[in-house]
């Protein structure tokens, strides 16, 4: 073919092609960007909702097992709660010797827990706090209670031979106890009497735990923090707003407890109501208009009835 017959694009054709290409590209870009924003927005919302849902599961799981009437809540405010978090429960096959001196308020109690009925989140460890069921006078349940103590030593040791335990595997626990005192409440008839804690008595292990609103050093975001025992606080839910965790404490008649900072008021707590206000970790632009970049906020309110308050 002769070279003169070769034809290129005219300027008009080129311009038309460029214009069409730019229109298509722009439209495509907008679709892609819009899709990406929707994706990011949805991901952020999902993360936030997961956070809220987690808070709605984690906090009630710990709080519902409390007995505020016997001091399980040791501190409380609108943004924080310090409490006994139950971790395990067992059954004593060898009862500790109690008494005979009521004046001995901090005896060392040695008892054996059956391996078979050791239940809970984890096994006992030295340093755990415990609560042993105190029967006292068999003829009445008015003096029943739980003796607090701290595990100082543990040793694998079988339960007593013969019925009913037949030497089944066990764990001998030594604990320093704080025997119940005659006081109101609860009114206990005979503290530290002989044989006040029976074989077969349940024992519960717990640690002190704190849920609080906090902001890590150097961070601009707020979180729901968890402090377990002597460990440092760790974020468990977040980010949340600066008012992202708010506790309200109600008594058995659904009235707000006047001053949860006071021990006398805390023992009246019958249920805990908390509101969690979470936000997305990143700002989310409006996908349709591309206007207004802001974090999306959502909240949940959960009310937890304390299952273990003293019943009379």
């Amino acid at each position: 073919m002769p070279a003169l017959n070769r034809r290129g694009l005219t300027m008009v054709e080129l311009l038309v092609a460029l214009v069409l290409l730019s229109i298509v590209s722009t439209a495509l870009y907008r679709v892609l960007v819009s899709n990406q924003r929707i994706y990011q927005a949805q991901t952020q919302r999902i993360d936030m909702q997961q956070n809220i849902r987690a808070a709605g599961q984690i906090l009630p799981a710990d709080l519902r097992e409390l007995d505020a009437s016997e001091g399980d809540i040791s501190a409380a405010s609108s943004t924080s709660i310090t409490f006994r978090a139950m971790r395990w429960m067992g059954v004593i096959c060898s009862a500790p010797i109690t008494g005979p001196l009521p004046a001995v308020t901090n005896p060392v109690l040695v008892f054996t827990v059956m391996d078979q009925k050791l239940m809970g989140e984890r096994a006992p460890v030295v340093g755990d706090s415990v609560l042993l069921r105190y029967e006292g006078d068999e003829g009445t349940s008015a003096d029943d209670g739980w003796v607090p103590g701290v595990i100082t030593a543990m040793l694998a040791q079988n339960c007593p031979a013969g019925l009913p335990y037949n030497g089944t595997a066990g764990l001998r626990i030594t604990a320093t106890a704080s025997m119940l005192q005659v006081a109101a409440p609860p009114q206990l008839a005979t503290p530290n009497v002989v044989n006040a804690i029976y074989g077969g008595a349940p024992v519960r292990g717990f640690i002190t735990q704190i849920y609080s609103l906090y902001r890590p050093a150097g961070d601009t975001s707020w979180y729901v923090g968890l402090t377990r025992g002597v460990n440092a606080i760790q974020p468990v839910v977040g980010p949340v707003l600066s008012n992202g965790l708010q506790f309200t404490f109600l008594n058995d008649t659904n009235n707000v407890v006047l001053n949860p900072a006071l021990a006398n008021d805390r023992v009246r707590i019958g249920s805990v109501l908390f509101t969690l206000r979470a936000r997305t970790a990143q700002v989310v632009r409006n996908a349709a208009t591309a206007a207004g970049s802001a974090a999306v906020i959502d909240s949940v309110t959960v009310r937890v009835s304390l299952r273990n308050n003293r019943r009379w």
């Binding site: 429960m89 609560l131 069921r133 009445t140």
Partner: protein
């Protein structure tokens, strides 16, 4: 034609690229959405199984069968599958959102552990995507009815023993009862009569009263002795009775249909004379709101009489008898009234308890224990009853 072959274009490539990108984003969004939906579904199922487990705990307490569960031996020697109504099967919650089942363990004389595991409905139907399970425990305690039994007969008024009447505080296992089910440790001998005024007790023969001591003068016996039993009042005990009857004249005897004890019959108070028969393990609480006259044959459990109790002829009762008025027996020859266990007659109007003929009041720890175990229901322990067992 040549010119057409030489044409170049990007439309197809761009379109494919765009479709891939958009498709990836859409797939990502769908994936995230699906995950979110699954998490939400799991949360719902977790809540359903938790609710089913809590309901299971309450149902076990509500449907507590003392005759069965109170006789459990101590853990780990014994345990009982619950719910009892559907042995071997889980129970479905009323809203059909979940199922529950578990075990009852007796930890010691007072305390039981109810251990319930529940699952949501979808798990029960075998949904292959897994399921939610919750295990909860509840510590329950036998509801204390502390009669403070210190004698074969406790009374505030007078006691008159005539003829061959006998009151004995010596522990006796009723005839035909298996000693293996009787606790004979301790409490082997009680007083014959416990009364605030021993001068009101009279007998024709010195050996008509047996026990250690024969007569125990106890000035603490007062109206509350007959009204308040530990944590339970007479009124609440009467209100919880299995059998409610008005005053009247009755003949009491066990009624069984085949191998089943017919507990719907009000005059069926169990079969203490034949412990292995269908009604042998039936220990009701019987409340009679008025004066009652009994003309045979037998019964067992806890008998509460608001007025006077008059026994005509032969009648045997195993367990605890609490009479707010007067107890009278009459008979002779081969017919007699025989009480195994303990009797408390309040005698508020200071009438005399008259025991004549061959009447015998025989203290029996075994009868008392079985009556108590067979009638006492449970409640959650005073505090910290509830536990997440994981």
């Amino acid at each position: 034609m040549n010119r057409n072959r030489n044409e170049r274009g990007m439309a197809l490539a761009i379109a494919i690229f765009a479709l891939v990108v958009v498709g990836a984003l859409v797939a990502g969004a769908f994936f995230a959405g699906t995950q979110e939906q699954r998490v939400a579904e799991n949360t719902k199922r977790l809540q359903q199984s938790f609710g089913a487990a809590e309901m299971g705990l309450n149902e076990v307490i509500r449907l507590w069968r003392p005759q069965v569960l109170n006789k459990l031996k101590r853990y780990p020697s014994d345990s009982m599958r619950v719910p009892l109504a559907l042995a071997g099967f889980d129970s479905i919650t009323p809203d059909r959102s979940g199922v529950f089942g578990g075990y009852v363990y007796r930890l010691n004389d007072q305390v039981f552990l109810v251990d319930i595991t529940a699952r949501d409905k979808q798990t029960r139907q075998g949904v292959p995507t897994g399921g939610a399970r919750q295990r909860l425990g509840q510590l329950v305690r036998i509801r204390l009815v502390d009669f403070k039994i210190g004698a074969a007969l406790t009374t505030r008024g007078g006691v008159s023993l005539k003829g061959n009447a006998l009151v004995s505080g010596r522990d006796t296992i009723p005839q035909g009862w298996d000693p293996a089910y009787c606790d004979t440790i301790g409490d082997t001998t009680k007083a014959g009569v416990r009364t605030p005024d021993s001068a009101q007790v009279s007998m024709q023969q010195p050996d008509q009263m047996q026990g250690n001591p024969q007569i125990k003068q106890d000035t603490t016996v007062n109206s509350s002795t007959f009204n308040q039993f530990g944590d339970i009042s007479y009124a609440s005990l009467a209100a919880s009775a299995n059998i409610q009857m008005s005053g009247g004249n009755y003949k009491i005897q066990p009624v069984a249909v085949g191998t089943t004890c017919n507990q719907a019959v009000l005059t069926n108070w169990g079969d203490g004379m034949n412990p292995t028969q269908p009604c042998g393990s039936y220990f009701p609480i019987i409340h009679i709101a008025g004066d009652a006259t009994l003309n045979g044959d037998q019964g067992q459990g806890v008998l509460l009489v608001d007025g006077d109790l008059d026994i005509q002829g032969s009648f045997i009762f195993y367990g605890i008898v609490l009479v707010q008025g007067s107890l009278k027996t009459a008979g002779g020859g081969s017919t007699d009234a025989h009480f195994y266990g303990a009797v408390m007659a309040r005698n508020v109007d200071l009438e005399l308890n008259t025991l004549a003929g061959n009447a015998t009041l025989q203290y029996s720890k075994c009868a008392v224990t079985n009556a108590m175990e067979g009638t006492q229901v449970v409640t959650p322990v005073r505090s910290r009853a509830w536990a997440q067992l994981f």
